[in-house]
């Protein structure tokens, strides 16, 4: 665990980081994100002692890093540098292998490792290993920077905007690689990015910074669902959550007070209820709110007996949703089963809400409609 305690950094008189504290947990991928110039790189460089904090202290597993030998500290940490930082006088191979070579690792192992890494970032080892950095494109250089940090198989990896110059396909592959890496081999990764999609995709926890302060440090889900303030919400992007629809839960958008009736209500009363409350569906519940079933106009038609009661008219095979199902689950069901309405039931079988097609449509349309409209609709929808 890496801990920052009240760390402040000043350049000249300018305060760049202002008493920030954070815990970076082991085997997690922590993302630092924030607007340009907020101090992400500075924070990262303090972790491997390229920059000394003006105040405060940083510990790794409880040991002040000032007490750890610099070189040892840095060899334990891979470091991907923001602007690449490849050595122009070395071939790509030497750039990648420099630390391994210095540590006199087994030759064959080095070569194998390099080839594996090159393949991981989708660069042809044959073609590029003997080139010099100037012969590579921007994105290719960046990838070399990334694998240089991995070559020595460090426990901690610091990555400063490692994929900023990559196209979406390559980038997405690499993101997956890193998530896998962290999970399979227990790496602690600190990852700077300015791309919220990326952050949400890879992060275990996200630290949102601004002007040298930490605004929020939490899981992606919490940040998406409960942004700490307007700035975070805005930075994350109000519609961002649609890029992670699994965080949109049924309880967030279901109709919370659907129109219900007692199981003993008769057909006429049912029809009357539908008309008076402008709905096509009634939910049949016991007095203790246990869901019995659902009836619609169709069922009323089919029920030829004038005295049929609600309990007898309910649809068969009714699908139900749970309040913490997410919208993707629901859409999949809706899509598969071609149904329009779906009651929401808690663990004990009690009715808590209702999902309808139009309710889904209006939820889904939120991502495309502008804030104001949305806001205005919000209440309306939840009352339908």
């Amino acid at each position: 665990m890496i801990q920052l305690e009240n760390v402040t950094k000043k350049f000249g008189g300018k305060v760049v980081l202002d008493k920030i504290s954070m815990d970076i947990r082991d085997n997690e991928l922590t993302v630092l994100i924030g607007p340009s110039g907020c101090g992400k790189t500075t924070t990262l460089k303090m972790l491997n002692r390229l920059i000394a904090p003006s105040e405060g202290k940083i510990t790794i597993d409880g040991i002040d890093i000032e007490a750890i030998e610099k070189i040892e500290l840095r060899r334990k940490m891979g470091y991907v540098i923001q602007q690449g930082g490849l050595f122009p006088h070395m071939t790509i191979r030497d750039n990648i292998e420099i630390i391994e070579q210095l540590e006199k690792k087994d030759k064959d192992h080095i070569v194998e490792n390099t080839i594996r890494l090159m393949e991981m970032v989708d660069l042809d080892p044959e073609e590029y290993l003997d080139c010099y950095p100037t012969e590579l494109s921007g994105g290719q250089r960046q990838r070399i920077g990334v694998i240089r940090a991995l070559a020595n198989d460090p426990k901690i990896i610091l990555m400063d905007e490692p994929f900023s110059a990559l196209d979406p396909l390559t980038r997405s592959n690499l993101q997956d690689e890193f998530v896998k890496l962290k999970e399979k081999v227990d790496k602690t990764i600190v990852f700077v990015t300015h791309d919220m999609d990326e952050a949400i995709k890879v992060a275990d926890r996200i630290c949102i910074m601004r002007d040298g302060h930490i605004l929020q440090f939490d899981t992606p889900e919490e940040i998406l669902r409960n942004p700490a303030d307007d700035y975070v919400e805005n930075f994350v992007g109000a519609k961002r959550i649609w890029d992670s629809p699994e965080y949109i839960k049924v309880e967030d958008f279901m109709i919370k007070k659907p129109v219900t009736c007692h199981p003993d209500t008769n057909k006429g009363r049912c029809l009357q209820l539908m008309s008076s409350s402008h709905v096509d569906t009634l939910l049949v519940v016991e007095p203790d709110n246990t869901l019995v079933g659902m009836i619609g106009r169709k069922s009323l038609y089919w029920a030829t007996d004038k005295n049929s009661i609600a309990r007898d008219m309910v649809y068969p095979n009714m699908s139900v949703a749970k309040p913490d199902d997410n919208i993707v689950d629901i859409l999949r069901i809706v899509d598969e089963e071609d149904i329009n309405n779906m009651p929401v039931v808690d663990d004990k079988g009690k009715l808590v809400g209702l999902l309808t097609s139009s309710n889904l449509v209006s939820t889904l349309s939120r991502q495309f409609l502008s804030e104001e409209q949305e806001e205005a609709k919000q209440e309306e929808v939840s009352e339908v």
């Binding site: 460089k45 390229l50 470091y79 540098i81 006088h89 630390i99 010099y132 020595n152």
Partner: protein, 525 residues
């Protein structure tokens, strides 16, 4: 121009020898300067406070006039290779230190940060990043130093360390432009060679990507490297052999019983040194180092005083006139005795017996003329001078102890006197444009043109007999030297030296070989 070629061709073996010496000296000096300068430059780029004082010292050293430096170094380090190398090393430091410092200090700090960031130690940052990236600048400094050192090393000749400077300075002393050029041109060529080799080194150690325009030439460059390595390899081997040789040579000289014989910087002295060396070595179990080419007699005397050499062959006349500041007199025995006494009094130097050769002014004539006028002795001149035309140097004509004296003291008056210089005198004599010429007693040309030297039966010319001078302490340690030297000295006469000089100068044999040859032929070794 063609004169120059001729001169150089004629003296090619000597020029080559000096060139080799020069290369050895320069290589050692520059090597040391690199070994000191580069680390120092690196050091001061790390330790901030040190850059000013150290560059300051290097600046000061650089500003000391080289002559003054020599003047100051001799009392401390004596003469020979050591002070020469020391001096040139000192002068070579500034460009190396300064460029190393500048090169390293002006590396992009972000590059250094990257290197640190990925976990290189200070030393590794230096070796892997800073030095390779600063290399063009460092090598520029080294190349400046190396080339400058080639030029500076000519100073070595002033203190008997040899090298091409010997040609240059003796050329300057004798206003012989050909000789100056014969020394300076090889030095220039050597400079180009040194720069070329350094360029190869630079190319080899500089990462290809930092070399200008490597891209187009990438494939070529890789191929080229093999050839470069080959060239450098050969050069390195040569250098090692050269230096190794001289090191072993000088080590071989440090046996238990051991003396050093010094010699001045002209032909006769080279041969003399080897004559005594080989003879002593064969007659005694003393090991002799030959320290030839020490400059004038002044320098030899200085070296003797400072125990740097143990013995050398001086000339009585030189001691009498130059050291003791007497007016020249003609009595060879008296001259010898005065010299012997005074030298002992003043310096505890012992003059052994005089040799039989007298390297003074003489007059010479052709066999033909000699027969025609029955002219073999100076006194004969009284009789026939009126019919003869002389061809002499301007100096000979005007000196009281030369032509003027002949005239005033002995009433010898020639028909006509022409002033001529150097070899032309001999040719003029051969063509009978003149009948009598002046010469030095042991000049090889006398032998070459097969001339008759007029015997000085009137004791006219001041004596300049060769005489071994040895320190008292040395003689006490090796008393056997006295007899040995005297025995050899008695064998050496004008005739012999003339012959030997002739072989070295005209036949271009090596003085060592000539000396050995002679001693063998006489059954002396």
């Amino acid at each position: 121009m063609s004169d120059l070629f001729k001169y150089m061709a004629e003296n090619s073996s000597e020029i080559f020898r000096l060139l080799i010496e020069h290369i050895e000296l320069t290589a050692v000096a520059v090597g040391i300067a690199i070994l000191i300068g580069v680390p120092l430059g690196i050091f001061i780029s790390y330790v901030k406070g040190m850059s000013k004082p150290i560059i300051g010292v290097a600046n000061v050293v650089q500003a000391v006039p080289s002559m003054a430096m020599l003047g100051l170094a001799i009392p401390l380090l004596g003469i020979g290779v050591l002070p020469a190398v020391f001096m040139v090393t000192l002068y070579s430091l500034l460009p190396i230190i300064k460029n190393t410092y500048t090169g390293i200090a002006s590396i992009d700090p972000e590059m250094v940060e990257a290197a640190k960031g990925i976990g290189l130690t200070r030393g590794q940052v230096l070796r892997k990043v800073k030095i390779p990236m600063a290399l063009p600048v460092i090598m520029a400094g080294v190349r400046i130093s190396a080339v400058t050192a080639v030029g500076l090393m000519t100073m070595a000749a002033f203190i008997g360390a040899g090298g091409l400077g010997y040609m240059v300075f003796s050329g300057i002393r004798t206003a012989n432009n050909l000789q100056i050029l014969a020394g300076a041109i090889p030095a220039c060529i050597l400079a180009l060679l040194v720069d070329f080799l350094m360029g190869l080194v630079e190319k080899l150690v500089t990462p290809i990507s930092l070399q200008p325009a490597y891209m187009e030439a990438k494939a070529k460059a890789k191929k080229g490297r093999t050839r470069q390595k080959a060239i450098l390899g050969v050069a390195a081997v040569l250098l090692v052999v050269l230096i190794g040789n001289s090191v072993i040579g000088s080590m071989g000289g440090s046996k238990d019983k051991h003396i050093t014989i010094g010699g001045m910087d002209f032909t006769e002295q080279f041969t003399l040194v080897y004559l005594y060396k080989y003879y002593i070595e064969s007659e005694t179990d003393i090991d002799v180092t030959a320290e030839t080419n020490l400059g004038g007699s002044q320098v030899c005397r200085g070296a003797l005083k400072k125990d740097e050499i143990d013995m050398f062959i001086d000339y009585t006349g030189t001691i009498f006139v130059e050291v003791l500041q007497n007016d020249p007199i003609t009595d060879m025995q008296k001259v010898y005795e005065v010299c012997k006494d005074e030298m002992y009094k003043q310096n505890k130097f012992i003059l052994l017996n005089q040799t039989g050769f007298n390297n003074t002014y003489t007059l010479a004539t052709s066999k033909e003329v000699s027969k025609e006028y029955n002219l073999t002795k100076l006194s004969d001149l009284k009789r026939v001078a009126k019919k003869l035309v002389t061809g002499t140097t301007f100096q000979f004509l005007n000196r009281e102890d030369c032509m003027k004296g002949l005239n005033s003291k002995y009433g010898i008056k020639f028909k006509d006197s022409k002033t001529l210089d150097g070899t032309p005198r001999y040719t003029a004599l051969e063509n009978r444009e003149v009948d009598v010429i002046d010469a030095f007693g042991t000049d090889g040309l006398l032998k070459k043109f097969d001339l008759v030297v007029l015997e000085d039966d009137i004791n006219f010319f001041a004596p300049y007999y060769g005489v071994p001078v040895i320190r008292e302490a040395v003689l006490k340690e090796y008393p056997e030297l006295e007899n040995v030297c005297n025995k050899l000295s008695s064998v050496l006469d004008d005739e012999t030296m003339m012959e030997l000089n002739y072989r070295v100068d005209e036949k271009e044999e090596e003085p060592e070989d000539v000396a050995k040859d002679f001693l063998k032929s006489k059954g002396l070794i």
